[in-house]
Symmetry: C2
Subunit: 218 residues, 2 copies
Amino acid sequence: MGNNPSGKVPVPTLERMATYLRYLLDLEQDHVETIASSDVEEQTGINAAQFRKDLSYFGEFGKPGVGYNVAELQNRITKILKIDREQHVVMIGAGNLGSALVGYPGLNEHHFNLVAVFDNNFAKIGRKLWELEILDISRLAEINAVLKARIGILAVPRSAAQDVTEQMIDAGIRAILNFAPTILRVPDDVVVRNVSFVQELAVLSYHLSTDMVFNEQG
Amino acid sequence: MGNNPSGKVPVPTLERMATYLRYLLDLEQDHVETIASSDVEEQTGINAAQFRKDLSYFGEFGKPGVGYNVAELQNRITKILKIDREQHVVMIGAGNLGSALVGYPGLNEHHFNLVAVFDNNFAKIGRKLWELEILDISRLAEINAVLKARIGILAVPRSAAQDVTEQMIDAGIRAILNFAPTILRVPDDVVVRNVSFVQELAVLSYHLSTDMVFNEQG
């Protein structure tokens, strides 16, 4: 595991690993074969020493004097993040945002297979969203016993978010991508990532009013 | 400016400030008036010392033995992030995601006023999206000379993202919330925040396969 005796990988390192991956995918489209850590710094804003330190959690990478092979690095990061094999994902909430996410082409590219969409609105249940039928949220546990998704995307209003989270956990979901603007209470064996458009805009808003921040892309 | 002689605020501190704000808004709904830093740790997963250190960039907060007044702290963070006054925002891209974001109620709550939507698809231009008419992207600079939005949301396909970014910058946009899965190249006086659903899912995917990460909500 490289220079990481405790075995713990900090969350910001994982986030940056995913950023490196996106950069590597850009490079692949541009047919770039080899990069130096200075290229990473120039294109992502993450400094070269940080890049090397992040990689060191996961072993040896790159060749001195040669640099990093783009395809190989991409391959290894994909394996590290465990996105090299298909994973079932369920979507909870078939509103505007949930519907847009169901149609988002990037998920499949990375083997996230959206297998079911749930809602509690009887006017929606039974209707089709893209190729998926909208299912009754009360059947989540029953249906997920078959689908065995461990990742769920939560796109419901704030007022419903905590109740629905508990239903998701009861149904075996262990990782939640939360779009509801609230802090979810979950047990220790469940992990949550929050996506908050307002939070992102607030950080931009701060930046606009000052240049007193370190300049690094999130 | 508290214990911050250089005047620089790290980006992760700003991100956490926005997380504290979300937590405080939850508390306000629950009619909680005062909190301790240990409450913050328990509810957000961000440890109490980190919370106090983050606040210290911006001055003195809380009273020893009493704690933090929820309304006051919320008010001050809102001012720190400069989201206490209305800001114009333009949306570029009227596809599924852009359309969903235009309808997202959270933006207005925080004084982000979405004033225009642009697209390059002639089939869409002139149609209404919620209450906004979809405008021709080629008119962005002309129209934004009047609207004076400095924040833009980019929700276009990866292949168009860099070109559109340059149009946004030419039109006076200085802060970009980027939903396209690519690294944008921007000059030093433009700030970008990337929202990547795939990146978030990849971090969740890693967590699912191991408990070897520090447990903190993003």
